[in-house]
């Protein structure tokens, strides 16, 4: 059954190529996937029969490699949910330039299929390969339909992520050969790798490889320009879903299999993640355009999730950090996708994203203002919205193993500094809100149209998700038990 989640977008892609109406085909495929994904999550939560969903077939006997898609645990299910929700919103809210519909919707479907495949695969090869499948259309979309200096920006993300993927591949192959298998469940059964020095080296490869893919400081400089330039669905899908692949990979592989390796790199990791939160946070404040600000803010928020991983890497059992990190990944994915979607809407009705040229949009577009305000608050971390639950849990998780007698450890110190990031988020998000929606209306905003009914569907879907998870985090957390 899970195979259908992959086949539907791929078949729709083929249909688009062979001449079907691109938007209709893509929306139907994304809608079907949304329903299927929700059904899979429900059956995983409610019954033990979720095995019926699994799919597995051998592709190679020596070495043994399988295409196996599983609802392996709550983390896979949550990532699947994130993928199908954001895909639907991205496909539904996008508006292709004339004559480019095939590319626009086709690429979105490929990115989505790649992300879903990566999150569901329990074989190391396909786990990696599906992510690559999603990257290439991302590059193509930015290079073809991006804004600004699209070619240079797209070339930069291609080189960066291509290199990151190669480093990651080296690490994964090493991991597989150390365990003698490509099957992730079989590795998890064997437990942490015995050889300490191999653990440390493989962990370095994985942190670097996944880190580049997740825009870990100082390998983040591809991200903000790429998101600012990318067409809205690409930015939504990459920032919202695909980038979570790196974090998912660290949580899935590095944390359980290389615990000592990770904790050996704990201090450097803490320093780098503070770079994400503080340094990139300050850069975000100084942005003069909304798209640049959102791109940087998405890089910045990766720091919190890395903090969750650091808390897991620190010695001692930590039962909160994993759910916290997963919850925040989900919340951030939904909120950043919604922000990019709404920013695209703002640009379409006003013609600009320059914060200084905008103002007073709330009067002519109240619904847009309300939804943007809501998701802005979520992004800052206001209680009642999903991001808050995740961030607070991560801060708590950082202190789970705090021993007053031993003094503050690196994770605790990092956490204390990282909390300042909440203020930074508030500063840039509220400033952006003020300069776009409040104050006197200017020419470009005076007659701007508000969201139409069909525009509201994806935004409301995302907003409801944020609220639901914010008020009842257990919706997701119960899946992780």
């Amino acid at each position: 059954m899970l195979l259908a989640l992959l086949l539907i977008p791929l078949l729709a892609f083929a249909a688009i190529l062979s001449g079907s109406k691109a938007r209709t085909a893509a929306t139907i495929a994304a809608g079907l996937n949304l329903v299927l994904g929700l059904a899979a999550a429900l059956s995983f939560a409610l019954s033990d029969s979720s095995r019926l969903w699994n799919f597995s077939v051998d592709v190679l006997q020596r070495p043994h490699i399988q295409l196996s898609l599983e609802l392996f645990d709550g983390m896979s299910v949550i990532m699947l949910l994130l993928s199908v929700i954001v895909t639907f919103a991205a496909v539904f809210s996008g508006k292709a330039p004339d004559g480019r519909e095939k590319l626009y919707y086709g690429s979105s479907l490929l990115i989505s299929a790649g992300a879903i495949g990566a999150f569901l695969s329990t074989d190391l090869f396909f786990f990696y390969a599906f992510h690559e499948l999603a990257l290439i259309p991302t590059f193509l979309m930015i290079g073809m339909l991006g804004r600004g200096d699209r070619k240079a920006i797209a070339w930069k993300i291609t080189i960066y992520l291509g290199f990151g993927s190669l480093v990651l591949l080296a690490g994964l192959v090493w991991l597989a050969s150390a365990f003698g298998t490509f099957s992730i469940p079989a590795m998890l059964e064997q437990g942490p790798l015995a050889d300490a020095s191999a653990q440390k080296s493989i962990a370095a490869f994985l942190i670097l490889g996944f880190g580049i893919l997740v825009s870990l400081f100082p390998f983040h400089s591809w991200a903000a320009p790429a998101y600012a330039s990318a067409p809205a669905p690409t930015a939504m899908l990459h920032a919202g879903v695909l980038k979570k692949f790196g974090l998912y990979g660290l949580l899935r592989l590095a944390v359980p299999l290389l615990p000592d390796g990770l904790s050996a790199w704990l201090v450097p990791l803490c320093v780098l993640l503070l770079g994400n939160i503080v340094w990139v946070g300050l850069v975000t404040i100084s942005q003069k355009r909304l798209d640049g600000m959102l791109g940087n803010s998405s890089v910045m928020h990766m720091g919190y999730i890395f903090l969750g991983i650091a808390a897991l890497a620190a010695p001692g059992l930590n039962e909160i950090a994993l759910p916290a990190a997963v919850l925040l990944m989900f919340a951030h994915g939904i909120s950043i996708a919604m922000l990019f979607g709404l920013a695209d809407r703002i640009e379409r009705v006003t013609g600009t994203l320059d914060l200084q040229k905008l103002g007073g949009l709330a009067k002519s577009a109240p619904a847009l203002a309300f939804l943007f305000g809501l998701v802005g608050m979520a992004s800052i971390g206001l209680p009642g919205l999903a991001n808050f639950a995740g961030e607070v849990m991560i801060f708590i998780a950082s202190f789970v193993n705090y021993d007053p007698a031993a003094g503050l450890g690196p994770v605790q110190i990092t956490c204390i500094i990282a909390i300042s990031g909440v203020v930074i988020s508030a500063v840039y998000m509220l400033r952006a809100y003020r300069s776009i929606f409040q104050g006197p209306a200017v020419d470009c905003t005076r007659k701007a149209a508000d969201l139409t009914l069909s525009d509201r569907i994806p935004a409301v879907l995302l907003a409801v998700t944020l609220l639901a998870v914010g008020i009842f985090p257990n919706l997701l957390l119960s899946l992780l038990k």
């Binding site: 190529l17 051998d58 592709v59 190679l60 006997q61 020596r62 070495p63 295409l67 095939k102 590319l103 090869f125 990696y128 390969a129 599906f130 690559e132 499948l133 290439i136 590059f139 193509l140 290079g143 073809m144 699209r150 070619k151 797209a154 070339w155 291609t158 080189i159 291509g162 290199f163 190669l166 080296a170 192959v173 090493w174 050969s177």
Partner: protein
């Protein structure tokens, strides 16, 4: 049917084609091509039913089997040569307009008929190389291939580039033939036999391996010419660029694969249990691999001509394949060894390379240019073709879920297992560079605007079907590589 019928039939087919061309219509050579393709397809079918000598039968005592063998590897490489020749002939059929433009009479196709017969003779040579068991037999087969190629490379005799390529190929080819014969003489002097099986048997008892080692080094250098590896790679860029595109495709796939099967046959006795030369041969191969990887990949970075880029990338691919040989490991029933990895790599290489040459040949005909720039804006002019080309280039770069990934993957696994860390590092740099220069083409197809005056490239029917089939295979094998391993037996 007995296996040696295959070569005999191929040669007969070649002769029949020459007759057909002499007495057939002068203005249109397409029927000759169709006839050749049909005949080769038939021989390809026979290849699956061919058998070697049965143990104890009368046939097994024939002296033929002293210099001819038929095992699953021979079957695989005979099939490989046939498939490659068929595709090259198909490519040549769509390339007739350029061929006739640069031969005797530009108005008609008179004088292009041999272009469909010569590859068939080369194919017979390649098939024989796959069965080589004796150094002299191998040498004769190899010369049959090489001499045919001298003609094929310089075929467009009214084109300066093609002539220059022909002369270069002739001079360097003759030089490498010299190396080969000299090396064979040394091997014979050291071991007293030309038979590869016997060389393998006497290897553990060899007292002083130095003479043998010198012979092997010379032979490897000469074979390096066939496969396009450093130090005999100088001819590749110019010859590839100058030769008619179908010839280039044939050189870079058929000739290379034939060179590799012969290399495998020559190396097998060197790596038997207790061989005194195994370590030294590993070192020689390791150096050749690393140098080819560096030269091929780094030089390809700067190319702006797509055919030259493919030429350098062909050196780089040779480097990867030799790396698998350097990390020698015997094939067993449950694990893929060096021979399996090399064969697998070559099979995927055939699909990707021939597909890109099909496209390149048409780009050359329709835009009169082979620069990467001539692909500008192909994503708008012909999105389907651009999509196919994207898949092929991604496969060349070794992106997962394409066939190209698995070849590189097997090579890396073997090298890591053998502990050739420095070579792994160099191969890693090579793979990264490859990612860069293959994506340059993808970039120009999708991101750059089309030049105003360039025509839209449309593939004629034969090329279109071939490219689509090859690309589909690249994707299917990317998900499911097992079929090639089945073919390997």
């Amino acid at each position: 049917m007995p296996a040696y019928y295959l070569e005999a039939l191929t040669v007969v087919l070649g002769l029949a084609l020459l007759m057909f061309e002499a007495f057939g219509p002068a203005h249109n050579k397409r029927p000759i091509g169709m006839f050749a393709v049909f005949g080769l397809c038939l021989i390809l079918t026979f290849n699956f039913f061919a058998v070697g000598p049965k143990e104890g039968s009368a046939m097994a005592d024939w002296p033929l089997w002293n210099f001819y063998q038929f095992d699953s590897l021979a079957r695989f490489y005979k099939g490989f040569a046939l498939v490659c020749t068929i595709l090259v002939l198909l490519m040549a059929m769509d390339f007739r307009s350029i061929l006739s433009r640069f031969t005797e009479n530009p108005e008609s196709e008179d004088g292009t008929g041999e272009f469909f017969a010569l590859p068939v003779f080369a194919c017979a040579g390649m098939m024989w190389m796959a069965s080589a068991k004796d150094l002299i037999g191998a040498f004769v087969a190899l010369e049959l291939v090489t001499i045919t190629f001298y003609v094929l490379v310089g075929y467009m005799r009214r084109n300066v580039g093609s002539l220059e390529a022909g002369v270069k190929y002739l001079i360097l080819g003759a030089l490498s033939t010299g190396f080969l014969v000299y090396g064979i003489a040394w091997i014979y002097g050291a071991t007293g036999t030309m038979n590869l099986d016997q060389i393998g048997e006497m290897m553990p008892t060899l007292e002083n391996p130095n003479a043998l080692l010198f012979g092997i080094a010379l032979v490897l250098v000469a074979l390096g010419f066939k496969v396009g590896a450093v130090p005999m790679q100088m001819w590749i860029p110019d010859v590839y660029q100058g030769a008619p595109t179908p010839t280039t495709a044939f050189l870079s796939v058929g000739s290379k694969a034939a060179g590799f099967i012969l290399t495998i046959r020559v190396l097998q006795p060197m790596f038997v249990e207790g061989s005194p030369v195994a370590t030294s041969v590993t070192v020689i191969l390791g150096i050749m691999a690393a140098a080819s990887l560096l030269v091929g990949n780094l030089a390809a970075l700067a190319q702006s001509n797509f055919k030259r880029l493919l030429a350098y990338s062909s050196i780089a691919h040779a480097g990867f394949i030799i790396l698998a040989l350097a990390a020698w490991k015997s094939d067993t029933s449950d694990e893929l060894g060096s021979i399996g990895a090399v064969s697998f790599y070559l099979a995927t290489y055939l699909l990707m390379t021939l597909a890109s040459f099909f496209v390149l040949a048409q780009v050359r005909i329709q835009t009169d240019s082979e620069e990467i720039d001539s692909f500008n804006g192909l994503g708008r002019r012909n999105p389907t073709l651009a999509l196919l080309m994207t898949v092929i280039m991604a496969a060349m770069a070794g992106v997962p879920l394409t066939a190209g990934f698995w070849g590189k993957f097997f090579v890396f696994s073997l090298a890591v297992e053998a502990g050739l860390w420095w070579a792994v590092g160099i191969a890693f740099i090579g793979a990264a560079a490859g990612f860069y220069y293959y994506f340059k083409l993808i970039r120009s197809m999708w991101w750059n605007e089309p030049d105003r005056d360039t025509a839209s490239v449309v593939l004629p029917q034969i090329s279109r079907i071939s490219v689509m089939t090859l690309t589909a295979l690249v994707v299917v094998l990317g998900f499911w590589p097992q079929p090639i391993l089945w073919l390997l037996g």
